[in-house]
Symmetry: C2
DNA sequence: CCGGAATACTTGCGCTCGCAACCTTCTTGG
DNA sequence: CCAAGAAGGTTGCGAGCGCAAGTATTCCGG
């Protein structure tokens, strides 16, 4: 139970500081940064909305609105799928990638100063190992043909 | 960095499930539960707003609104301090305590099934030890005379 | 080939909450 | 004793986001 309390309080503090820095220095919210970063690592720099949502911290509806905003800002664009008209891809634009690159140092520095520097390396490993499995649950990575859409 | 991602994702998942259960079964949000629980452990079952906020996951303004709601629901009441007219205490009412007692099993079960049962005991210890220090920072527990108010 | 179930996303609605500004009440230096 | 500033809470405002319902498309049993 102590672990639970530590988890939610540490999360609140670290995230609050990161968000403040990222917002004032780069004009990006943390969820927005996470989405951009995740897209940048994806093949063709794009992902289906559902993938993005299950990976991300957001519900589908939250993701839709966030992507709306990113599209308005010209950082991502929506692409439709040729073989299944239901699915939508969010694709990183060049401007979005540039924005991500610009924001990366701020984010990295924040994570360092607020989290990494305050823990021993073996503690970081322990956290990653213990909490990592919570990430993978939802989708068992079904084989979705990646290149079947324009 | 893996630790950071694991932290925010695990937090999102665990908290989302807990909130859903607590809300549907007991009609309490997780922050509300946390405030009630913290008050129940305090001397005279009351705390200053500032203490509550720095301990809690909320900013002062967020806490004000949450306490507003809890007062409307009759679960806490505001008390003024005789020696310093600026400070406000939030005090747990009997109804609030009863509500907390009723909600306790739901919360405990949730934390168990969604967090504790999924980790080894030594992992829980590691998390508590690593993330615990983040909780204590903000206030160094200055000596505030506890009994100086009605 | 067709109608119902399932899937992928989107929107209406409402609540929560953070920031900045504000008011009130102590405290402190002159 | 009286400003000037600090400290404790509260509010105006607006952004973010979850839930449930809605729309569009695909899948599947008969």
């Amino acid at each position: 139970m102590a672990a639970f309390h530590a988890l939610i309080r540490a999360h609140a503090r670290v995230v609050r500081m990161l968000e403040a820095e990222l917002e004032t220095e780069q004009g990006l919210s943390l969820p927005a940064y996470e989405v951009l970063a995740h897209l940048s690592e994806a093949p063709d720099r794009r992902r289906r909305m559902t993938e993005l949502a299950s990976f991300a911290i957001l519900t589908p509806s939250g993701l839709t609105r966030l992507v709306d905003k990113l599209v308005r800002d010209g950082l991502v664009e929506r692409q439709r799928c040729g073989t299944d008209a239901r699915v939508v891809y969010a694709a990183l634009t060049d401007a979005g990638f540039a924005r991500l690159v610009a924001a990366y140092p701020t984010h990295l520095r924040g994570v360092r100063t607020h989290l990494i520097d305050r823990l021993a390396p073996e503690q970081l490993d322990a956290i990653a190992e213990a909490l990592g499995p919570f990430t993978d649950d939802p989708l068992a990575h079904d084989a979705v043909p990646p290149g079947d859409c324009l």
